[in-house]
Assembly symmetry: C2
Homo-oligomer: 170 residues x 2
DNA sequence: GGTGGATAGTTGAGAGATCAACTAGTCACG
DNA sequence: CGTGACTAGTTGATCTCTCAACTATCCACC
């Protein structure tokens, strides 16, 4: 038969599991690629900027603390600072000192930001629908959501700090 | 109740579907973050470099054409060129002209590359297992694979060129 | 056999991401 | 109150990615 691969050797997965893993990798890669292409080619907001504005649009006063935004978007603080700085320069958001905690900074969506979100939303939504939602049975999409929620939980438990390392060596 | 959000307004999804979508986004983001952190902190290969070496390790002669590699990894040609150039500088891979098509370039894994892959594999595999595989029921993982295979197909149909744009306007 | 259009891959400049260092404010505890 | 540890956010150097332009080759067809 075929030679054994490295990943099979290393106490890896059954062949069926390995197939699932490859499909997962390919699916997520191709999906973000396709959705990102729609944003780049037809929308004025990148996928990341769009997600940021969606979060803000749903927050009270369309305002969130930088750290809450970073957590919600699964972004490093540094990356968020840079991204917000660029968006602020474009007039999509504004920053001002948070009251109560003088370290804090609130990020608020401007009217221009809201308008940009309204403009981009139909294209974004149509693309998500076309590429993912309509490609699946309704129950499949629901199952996908439940499964990825479990993965998110598990990732939170593992990620962030060094526990990954230590957990690896037990 | 709560004010309507932009995404609800725009012929979006049911509330249940919207939940699935958010879970998908959060799950994939947290997962790559957690797995990437393991690579950055404990392994000598980034997730991208690791994936590239895995592909090569399974190819005949541990050699692939640049374009095949780019397609398999869902990477732009430009990005692959830069990545391979960096890895070549580190001695992990080598490039040489392909015979038969003088435009082509073959990328081959060196012994050092193979050794680096062997060293990194246990940590990578353990992390994937811990963060995703063991967090799910076996059937859930299998279902995830099947669902993402469909998403990959659908993304291929939509992505790449401009059909996304035109399909949007039908 | 040469011309047009595709394909393979590279390049370099600019945009964006990462990492470590840094400022500043808060909190707990003696 | 003051000192040490922690949290919030920013900065800038460096690395990586993207995008458009470019070289070179291949193929089809007249």
């Amino acid at each position: 038969m075929a030679a054994e691969t490295i990943e099979q050797r290393e106490s890896w997965l059954t062949e069926e599991q390995q197939g699932s893993w490859r499909h997962y990798l390919e699916g997520t890669a191709r999906f973000v690629e396709a959705l990102g292409a729609v944003h780049d080619r037809t929308l004025d907001l990148s996928l990341g900027e769009y997600s940021l504005l969606v979060q803000l649009s749903e927050a009270p006063e369309r305002t969130m603390r930088m750290s809450a935004l970073a957590d919600g978007l699964v972004l490093s603080r540094s990356r968020l600072t840079h991204t917000v700085a660029r968006m602020e320069a474009r007039g999509l958001v504004e920053r001002r000192a948070a009251e109560g905690d003088r370290r804090g900074v609130n990020c608020t969506m401007t009217d221009a930001g809201y308008a940009a979100l309204e403009t981009a939303a139909p294209g974004h939504v149509a693309a998500v629908r076309r590429i993912m939602v309509d490609a699946l049975e309704p129950e499949e999409f629901a199952v996908l959501g439940r499964i990825m929620a479990k993965v998110a939980e598990s990732s939170k438990a593992s990620g962030g700090t060094e526990e990954g390392l230590t957990a690896l060596c037990d």
